[in-house]
Symmetry: C2
Subunit: 441 residues, 2 copies
């Protein structure tokens, strides 16, 4: 395979994320020269539709003018100042916006990556239990098929064997809740159901649990699996009654991705902790935050000498470049009523997927909520029934101008919240064409 | 205490890092309105000398023109694009610079926060051992007084009880290497010593160890403790002979902080992994990277189906805003010979501390390497012999215009690498004045 100069230089030194690098020799990296809106512009081929929002974070697409301008303006003041014992108008403004968007919460703690955010929430939960008369509460549970990040703790909270198996020796044991009520179709349309009986198997752990960690409504890396929001209600009722924390990892789902500020809103539920990242900064730079209640905060509030403070820090806690992007993104979401538009356009995106499913007969289990729609390739069909079918589809899709990046054999769209309808249609057309080609192959 | 409007708003919602928030009621956060060079400008008081580089990361001070311009220019192209299966001139350029600065390494893996970077190195080490015939190598060791971050794994690698005690239930057991040869004085002046006998107690773990993780030469959060560089040579010889990895956390020490690219250079040692962050982006936005060898990389290189790939990802792996800052910072370091100047100015900074020690008689164990100098307050002296003496000094220092932030009872300077000499002198004068006031109190 002939490589461009840039590709050769890349392969010499760059170890890419989430990869067997040998694959890069037959499928060399695409050179990106610029990006605007929902399009990535390549050096040697046409534009690519970024239908996955560059790993789910570019919620307002690339080069968003207002967010960029906010970063430029902030750099006139400062890029980053230690947040221990300092404050500034920007970070306070961000806190106020986050709290105002999330009634019931009153405190904001900032971290860097999404994984860091989940670690913060789990640490807060455990420490709270330890120093508030519940020393026996030291364990956590999470959901089957969960994904919460790639640090050792968050891998242990997750249930993606591929990512975690080699590191078992370092991972704490985190039991998984099974029998999740997965659903197909449009999640927003589901009527309330009582899932409390599904939680009966948890009873044996009730006395030792500090908290339960969930991705609400949508499990992303686990396979773009949606479950019934009422299940979150059952979890909240069960945990509240027993003094167990509920921790929502809203890194993927929050800030408009599902058409709401928090996915837990579909269940009318306020967890003890909610973690945001990705869409919070519109995918500019890493920042995560944990929102929590006065009750949790007060469990740490005491004289210094008691040792009850929360001593976590990330170097870049409250980073001003990220905070500027976040404030601009949240203001844009609000002013342009982006979340409401997502809720509406999501019906349209769902229909596009249903159409591809109907026309090709090759997609099973079409499901969506907000601006995430997914379906499974019917692997029983000739043409699809092959190893790494999703990966083969991916390589062909980019040649047609679509960054369709299946998870295993699950195809999905997770586009910028402000993507143009014609790009959605074009994406669906490309996917359809590809599937037909595979079926004929 | 009367609070400004901004302070009241801050205390309502913002949970600050590394704090007992009750302390903020008597010592409310200082409002920062802008920052330039080594100065933070406050709303209600004079400027503050950022003598700790805003938690050790602002290596070129605030508002550095070239680095800012690089970020602005990059935003004209894109802020962030998924790095899986893509490449771009910027990130390849950064890789080439990192490799060229670090002969012996050939591969670069990017992560977000410093903790993420350490997690990546440890995961790589463990996975390498597991899939290259050393399945029994599942344990890690680290050093007494270590600090490697605040995720659960990195807390376990660390040895700072204050930060980790409440989370013991989730932490893997990581044994600590004791009898570190700590030193006083100027580290650069130390002659070679043979410390191999210090490692004899490790022999019993030799067969089960995957790797040993160290902060080379300087242990930061553990108390600004310096140890003899020859100890790293002993560790490298011992680990190499046994097929155990050496992992250097150069987050604080690397990229010029100690006057070298890597602190391990003082020992003439190439670890299997070196982790960089802080000074790499000149403290603009979170980015870390792990440098490693072809040998390690080849232990993952295989057909996809073997499952030997390294599947780690951070959402923002290779983030372009951070990468632009990093390239600009590294170019500035090189063109202006910043590291060589650090090595020279560090002698001057050390002398300033020695002078304060001599004049006040209140500082013990003055020690330094590169642009980090530290000393311990003599707690036996009347006036200093009180609870939280360091914290009391901190509160008084900021009133005099110096962001002196002692670690326990250890005072230190860790300024931007390009700080002006007169600000160093002023900092030393303020510290001296403060200590005299305490001694008289």
């Amino acid at each position: 395979m002939s490589l461009s100069n840039l590709q050769s230089r890349d392969l010499k030194h760059l170890w890419h994320p989430c990869a067997q690098m040998k694959d890069y020799e037959t499928f060399p990296p695409m050179e990106i020269v610029s990006a605007k809106g929902s399009l990535l512009h390549t050096a040697n081929d046409g534009p690519l539709i970024d239908i996955i929002s560059s790993w789910w974070c570019k919620s307002l697409g690339h080069g968003h003018d207002e967010v960029q301008q906010a970063v430029r303006d902030q750099m006139e003041k400062f890029e980053h100042v230690i947040l221990a014992n300092t404050s500034n108008e920007l970070i306070v403004n961000l806190c106020e916006k986050l709290i105002s968007l999330n009634p019931g919460y009153n405190k904001v703690f900032f971290a860097d990556s999404g994984s860091d955010g989940v670690e913060v929430a789990v640490k807060m939960s455990l420490q709270y239990q330890q120093q508030n008369g519940q020393e026996q509460r030291k364990k956590f549970m999470s959901l089957q098929n969960a994904y919460h990040g790639e640090t050792i703790l968050t891998l242990a909270l997750g249930d993606c064997g591929l990512y975690s198996a080699p590191y078992a020796a370092l991972m704490p044991e985190i039991k998984k809740i099974l029998d999740i009520p997965y659903v197909s179709g449009k999640v927003e349309d589901l009527p309330f159901e009582d899932f409390s009986s599904l939680l009966e198997p948890l009873e044996e752990y009730a006395d030792e649990l500090a908290g339960i960690v969930i991705e609400p409504v949508l499990q992303g890396a686990g396979g773009m699996l949606f479950y019934h929001p009422s299940f979150i209600k059952a979890l909240r009722d069960w945990t509240s009654a027993r003094g167990i924390h509920l921790i929502a990892d809203e890194i993927l789902t929050g800030m408009g991705r599902l058409g709401k500020v928090r996915a837990c809103e579909f269940a009318g539920v306020l967890p003890d902790f909610s973690v945001f990242s990705k869409s919070m900064t519109a995918g500019f730079t890493p920042m995560s935050c944990v929102l929590t209640t006065d009750e949790i905060y007060n469990g740490f509030y005491d004289d210094y000498e008691t040792g009850r403070g929360f001593m976590h820090s990330n170097t870049y806690t409250g980073n001003a470049i990220s905070a500027a992007a976040a404030v601009a993104a949240l203001e844009f979401y609000e002013r342009e009523q982006v979340f409401a538009r997502v809720a509406k356009d999501s019906v349209y995106m769902h229909e596009l997927f249903e159409d591809v499913a109907a026309e090709t007969g090759a997609l099973l289990n079409v499901r969506s909520c907000g601006f995430v729609v997914a379906a499974d390739l019917d692997m029983s069909l000739a043409g699809l029934n092959k190893k790494r079918c999703g990966y083969e589809l991916y390589k062909k899709a980019v040649r047609k101008g679509l960054l369709l990046r299946p998870l295993g054999n699950t195809v999905y769209f997770l586009p910028p919240l402000n993507i143009e309808r014609d790009l959605l249609e074009k994406s669906a057309d490309i996917m359809k064409e590809l599937i037909f080609e595979e079926l004929r192959s």
